[in-house]
Amino acid sequence: MSIDPVILFFLLGLAAGMLRSELRLPPAVYEFLTVVLLLSIGLKGGVELAQQSLLRLLPEIVAVIGLGVALTLIAYPLLRGVGRFPRPDAASIAAHYGSVSVGTYAVALAYLTSLGVDFEEHIALFLVVLEMPAIVVGVALAKGISRDVRWRRLFHEIFLGKSLVLLTGGLLIGWAAGPQGVASIEGLFFGLFKGVLALFLLEMGLLAAAQMAGLRRYGLFLIGFGVVMPLIGAAIGAALGWALALSVGGTALLATLAGSASYIAVPAAMRLTVPESDPTLSLAASLGVTFPFNVFFGIPLYLAMAQSLHGSLR
């Protein structure tokens, strides 16, 4: 089987960035691509949701929130104890890994689709659900609960941030319009999905290359953490997917979510709420190490995890 071109676009961006090419997408284009990706993922998920009983999903949602909390609480002592990071940095990085990356999810979607592996589209809902808990836990780890955190502002920031609004909006629209309704806008949101993803990954490659520069300053631990933590997360995510009786594809997607690290919502929230943490640390890990690792190696691995779990235990 030939290699998926969207991954080659990521490689192109990485290479161009590391060679210090002048290639750069204008910020407005990057935002446009992000908006289309978020809405596409939301719409697809929403159409599926329309065919599900929401009540049945409630336990899954609660479990997934627990997953986000657990991942953050696992990452924190690793960073604090082994990595010897100061408290704010450890808390901030932990929050990145307890949360999720839409880009990684989109690549996993494309990967499963190209292999013909079925999955529950409503997992897009977990993408929404997983964004927030890690932030709250991370801030609490950094500051304690009672202290001078402006929680109201934080919740406003999280719930009304661009990515949550677009994902949730897409889910609701897909859910309300149903498959026939959505058909009329398929051209843009589904037909162009992989092309848009390709351009998005080109820019992600450039961004990742820029973060790697930061890596050199922060030593080996961060590289190791950026590879090991996704593996831990994905293993737990896969186990949860299996326990929730998701399909093989759904299990792989939940593993991917758990193994991915945020690079949009969490860093913005941390910057405002835990400003004493160094943003170059967390972005070097999440964008410079974990995102490329997941795109190249993680996602196929997580599918293999899901397959062996389902194969051996059922």
């Binding site: 750069r24 997408l25 204008p26 910020p27 990057y30 820019e203 961004l207 820029a210 949009i264 860093p267 913005a268 910057r271 405002l272 400003p275 004493e276 943003p279 170059t280 972005l283």
Partner: protein
């Protein structure tokens, strides 16, 4: 033409702070402000990325010397340590002193 002296406070800082600075300025009762997108380099390294986290803004405030002093004091106390930020103050003249 009759003109009056005022101060022009210019802040260059992280784009992610825009909303927060707006509310700070409201608290300090500035009569207005102007924001442009910017990029640059300083002690926090190069900041020229296409996304909010790596981008800068440049904020200008025309105000009285008093307001300028208070504002800069507040920024120094609350943001200088943790954020990429510079602030500088210039002398300017305006035609409608009551406006600033």
């Amino acid at each position: 033409m009759n003109t009056t002296r005022r101060k022009l406070v210019t802040i260059v800082t992280e784009a992610v702070l825009e909303k927060e600075l707006v509310s700070v300025m409201e608290r300090f009762r500035v009569t207005g402000y102007t924001v442009t997108d910017a990029r640059g380099r300083g002690s926090h390294g190069v900041r020229d990325a296409g996304w909010e986290l790596g981008a800068n803004i440049r904020v200008e405030i025309v105000c009285t010397e008093d307001v300028a002093g208070n504002l800069v004091e507040h920024l120094k106390e609350n943001y200088y340590r943790d954020y990429a930020m510079i602030v500088f103050i210039g002398e300017i003249e305006v035609v409608r002193p009551e406006k600033f």
